[in-house]
């Protein structure tokens, strides 16, 4: 009884930090102690491990989403040329700065 209650509390504690653990964003770092506690929990809790996998898979699915609109290479080239005009730094034919 006591151990299942402890497990439930740890699940809730981990769920609240799972996004920060997986994203590892510099704006919201976890402490080394928090990271160790989450990893220990994920190693023994199938439900939280599945949740972590799904979040991870969702991020990769969205990052590789073929329906995302991609910018035009011609636009990029024009914008790089515009930056060169602004800063007075024309490039050579292969992108290197001219002396």
């Amino acid at each position: 009884m006591r151990s299942s209650l402890r497990q439930m509390v740890t699940c809730m504690w981990s769920a609240r930090r799972l996004q920060r653990y997986l994203d590892a964003d510099p704006s919201a770092p976890l402490t080394p102690g928090e990271i160790a506690r989450i990893e220990e929990h994920l190693a023994v809790c199938a439900k939280c491990a599945d949740s972590a996998y799904e979040l991870h898979a969702l991020h990769h699915a969205l990052a590789g989403w073929s329906q995302r609109p991609e910018p035009d290479e011609a636009s990029l080239t024009r914008l790089r040329g515009y930056l060169d005009e602004l800063t007075g730094s024309p490039r050579g034919p292969h992108g290197q700065e001219t002396p």
Binding site: L55, A57, A63, S66, E70, D72, L79
Partner: protein
Amino acid sequence: MPPPTRPALEDPARAFREHVEPQIEVMLRVALSLTGRRADAEDLVQESLLRAYRAIDRFDGRHPRAWLLTILRHTHVNMHRRRRPDTLADWDRVGDARPAFGAARQQSAEDTVVDGTLDEQLAAAVATLDPRFRAVLVLVDVDDLSYAEAAATLGIPVGTVMSRLSRARRRVREALGSDALSPGRQS
């Protein structure tokens, strides 16, 4: 003999170019998400570059991407005053949503979950999100911005980015169903 190259810090134009040039692609990608139109995205980035160059004296050299995305947001708000500042355009306005280039990304084993069926399911799930949640999800998960960069782009606190992201991901997972992202899924 060519003149000696001055250190970047003594040459503001050169320093500007060194900081900004690596960020142009992400600026254009985010501008495309903001405007939903390729021509508008290019115009927005060009205007933002001009404004950034004029404001170079106020740039401290740290976090150039977040600085540029903040300028991009201000410029976008000025150019499109009627749009809510913390949302993105609908992608279907872009028309040709197929990758113009850059489609050949590094694939890992886990990317194999992104098959055609999941792509369609993702599109449907993301389309039903509240625009504020969709904006954060697209900027962080699709455009690969950090929390702070997404916050700068949308003009909201980092904590709001995190809470909206959590809700957006939960809703997309719920919409996809438990099997779509499960470990046993095969492409």
